[in-house]
């Protein structure tokens, strides 16, 4: 029984190294933007499951290989497929005037971009919102 559970170790490695670690380190920009550590760990997990499978064919090694691959493919699909965006048609290009606008802030007060002209530089960030 003990060895059967050990057979599933690559699956756990894939789960922890892929999705879990990615979301745990979401606030580290290079992890978030490249997913490099996660991809490396997933590769190791798949290799491990594959070696195990080739050494001894059994329901457990097959299950481990299938599940490890499923986690790896699922993570790569969500991260690079589902999350990818169509090409943007930017309405404010470098060297041109930023389109002026007026929007309510978190206190309901109107904020006018041009009111900062001559006073402050602006880092204008668009984000997806809280959900």
């Amino acid at each position: 029984m003990k060895s059967r559970i050990i057979c599933l170790a690559p699956v756990f490695l894939a789960l922890i190294g892929g999705p879990a670690t990615y979301f745990l380190f979401l606030k580290v920009p290079w992890v978030r933007n490249t997913s490099l550590p996660n991809l490396i760990i997933l590769l190791v997990a798949v290799a491990w499951a594959l070696i195990q499978f080739r050494r001894g064919y059994s329901t457990w090694t097959v299950t481990a290989l299938v599940l490890t691959l499923a986690v790896a493919v699922g993570f790569i699909y969500l991260r690079f497929g589902w999350a990818s965006l169509p090409e943007a048609h930017i309405g404010a290009t470098v060297g041109n005037e930023a389109p002026d606008f007026s929007l309510p802030d978190s206190d309901g007060k109107e904020f006018v971009l041009s009111s900062l002209h001559g006073k402050e530089n602006v880092i204008l960030v668009f984000y997806r919102g809280v959900w």
């Binding site: 920009p29 965006l85 943007a88 930023a98 929007l103 402050e120 960030v125 668009f126 919102g129």
Partner: protein
């Protein structure tokens, strides 16, 4: 955050969230140095060309994008990522801001 202020810049963040959700967001973890704006009809988001139509089934929202605008109101740096999980790194934006300052002096 403090370095943005020291560089004479203001951080302005726009999303399609309502004023009510901005209030909750602000209350949770933000300093007063960030101006949060509500563009619930996605008018400004569309004008800047950074809309993600029906963002994964949750209605129109903004896609991650950052613009550095100088004191004259001119766009000096733009970064729009090709993926919802990717954002410009803070150092990248600060670097662009510093470049803007050098250019305008």
């Amino acid at each position: 955050m403090s370095s943005i202020k020291e560089l004479g810049a203001r951080l302005v963040a726009v999303s399609a969230d309502s004023i009510e959700s901005l209030k909750v967001f602000r209350g949770k973890k933000l300093t007063s140095d960030v101006t949060l704006l509500s563009d619930s009809k996605c008018q400004v988001i569309s004008r800047y060309g950074v809309i993600h139509p029906d963002g994964h089934g949750g209605g129109d929202i903004a896609r991650p994008a950052t613009f550095v605008i100088d004191k004259q109101g001119v766009v000096r740096w733009v970064k729009v990522t090709p993926n919802v999980m990717e954002r410009p790194a803070p150092e990248e934006v600060i670097g662009a801001l510093k470049g803007t300052l050098k250019g305008s002096q």
